[in-house]
Amino acid sequence: MNTNMKKYTVLAFGIAKDILGGRQCEIELPGNTVSALRTALVGQYPALAGLRSLLIAVNSEYAEDGVLLEERDEIALIPPVSGG
């Protein structure tokens, strides 16, 4: 195992939950940015690439690509919202 790999827990909702096969998954990646996480997730679950948008929230806030992740963060995959 690459010593730079970090393990993140990712919550998934809506269609992302269906694509990941569950409300929560763990993913290891050689990086610690939001964009690295998104790339890894889309690599592992190609159907995510077909969504109209795919945002990532860190600790309940929408996070830009450059935001740095900590292993203890609450990370969530936010597919296109459709409330109301």
Binding site: F13, G14, G50, R52, A57, A76, P80, V81, S82, G84
Partner: protein
């Protein structure tokens, strides 16, 4: 008052929560489950929320609205879970001293809620189901 609810919304109570003696105008938007979509019969809608973040995002919308209009009070409730045609999915109620502001603030809140708040809706029709807005 901002709530997500697994039980039916009480429209009267939500409007009451947005009412103030010093506010002459209350506007309320009530979104209900239609019995039809794309020419098909709707069997049910399934709403799911990222609850802690959804409440925080709605609060941000309310704060932005309060900076634009003289909001006296507000009450916003969204259902989660399985809803059938006729059920109330969302209620946004606001009060302001005068009426034009109540319309503008209420419309801003529901329009923005539908764009930014992490709530998802799966529509189950007679011939299939779909997460709304998921795909281009």
């Amino acid at each position: 008052m901002i709530t997500l609810s697994e039980t039916p919304l009480d429209v009267q109570q939500i409007i009451q929560a947005a009412t103030r003696l010093q506010a002459g105008a209350i506007n309320a938007f009530i979104g209900t489950v239609r019995d039809n979509a794309k020419g098909k019969q709707v069997l049910r809608l399934e709403y799911e929320a990222y609850e802690s973040m959804a409440v925080a995002e709605i609060q941000k919308i309310v704060d932005a609205a309060a900076a634009k209009w003289p909001l006296q009070a507000y009450a916003i409730s969204h259902r989660v879970g399985v809803l059938e045609p006729g059920d109330v999915a969302v209620v946004v109620a606001v009060s302001t001293p005068h009426r034009a502001d109540s319309f503008a603030a209420c419309q801003y809140i529901i329009d923005t809620l539908k764009e930014t708040v992490p709530i998802w809706k799966k529509e189950v029709l007679e011939d299939g189901e779909e997460w709304i807005s998921a795909h281009p």
